[in-house]
């Protein structure tokens, strides 16, 4: 297990007890998100579908790289990695 910092974006902080970041132990992006959501069901519901997929309106970066361009939720993490949850910003 590696210690990972997960950055919570402002629109999702109300569902994370106001936290801007959370530390978890995980080996993949998916695992890190599930750990973050373990006691925060409303937060997890906004990040992942009930089927365990990343929601389309949410991007997750490992450092500078979008996990969608890596191995998605299976992207491996190393000790000290920073995972940023980034909301899609769009409209009309």
């Amino acid at each position: 297990m590696s210690r990972i910092i997960v950055l919570i974006p402002p629109p999702l902080r109300p569902f994370a007890g106001g936290a801007a970041e959370l530390a978890v132990e995980a080996t993949t992006v998916g695992e890190a998100l599930k750990r973050v959501g373990e006691e925060r069901a409303a937060l997890l519901a906004r990040i992942m579908t009930p089927e365990g997929e990343l929601r389309p309106y949410v991007n997750v970066f490992v450092g500078e790289r979008n996990a969608r361009h890596l191995d998605g939720l299976r992207t491996p993490l190393a000790e000290g990695d920073v995972v940023a949850i980034i909301p899609a910003v769009a409209g009309g």
Binding site: P11, Y57, N59
Partner: protein, 156 residues
């Protein structure tokens, strides 16, 4: 409203009197937002807001223009890499990514159906209405419960 994105808590607040914020926007930033949107005509212009929120007031300190990756007169989208960079800049300066701004090139400064479908709850959305480009209209909105409410906008 995208029910997928607003399960539970957002709906639970519906029915309560909306707690409106006062958005404080320096005149120079207001002018730069409008100038950027006019320069993008007939496409939608957009950007991100950095600042601080204390109680019922939000203070905008930066209005970062961002490319509209859709280059559309009807829609806007900011690349996630741009949002990531803004979030990092905000964190590095002890500020918060408070929201976003965009224009309606031929419309009023009120949320569209697309805005409703894609908005995040309790985030600040400034809309520039350019139906009359010589008299741009700027209004502030935020999703509370199931719809947008208009916040107060104070140009400082």
């Amino acid at each position: 409203m995208n029910a997928d994105r607003f399960p539970g808590p957002a709906r639970a607040r519906a029915g309560k009197a909306p707690a409106r914020l006062t958005i404080r926007l320096p005149r120079a930033l207001r002018d730069s937002i409008v100038a950027h949107c006019l320069a993008q005509q007939p496409l939608e212009g957009c950007g991100l807001l950095l600042g601080e929120r204390h109680g019922r007031a939000a203070h905008i300190h930066e209005a970062l223009p961002a490319p509209n990756v859709l280059a559309s007169p009807h829609r806007y989208e900011i690349a996630p890499e741009t949002v990531l960079a803004a979030d990092r800049a905000a964190r590095a300066s002890s500020r918060t990514l408070l929201g976003a701004w965009h224009s309606h090139p031929r419309g009023a400064a009120v949320p569209s159906a697309t805005d409703r479908a894609e908005a995040w709850p309790d985030w600040c959305y400034l809309i520039v209405g350019l139906a009359a480009p010589q008299a741009p209209e700027l209004r502030a909105w935020r999703v509370l419960g199931e719809d947008f409410v208009e916040d107060g906008l104070e140009i400082t």
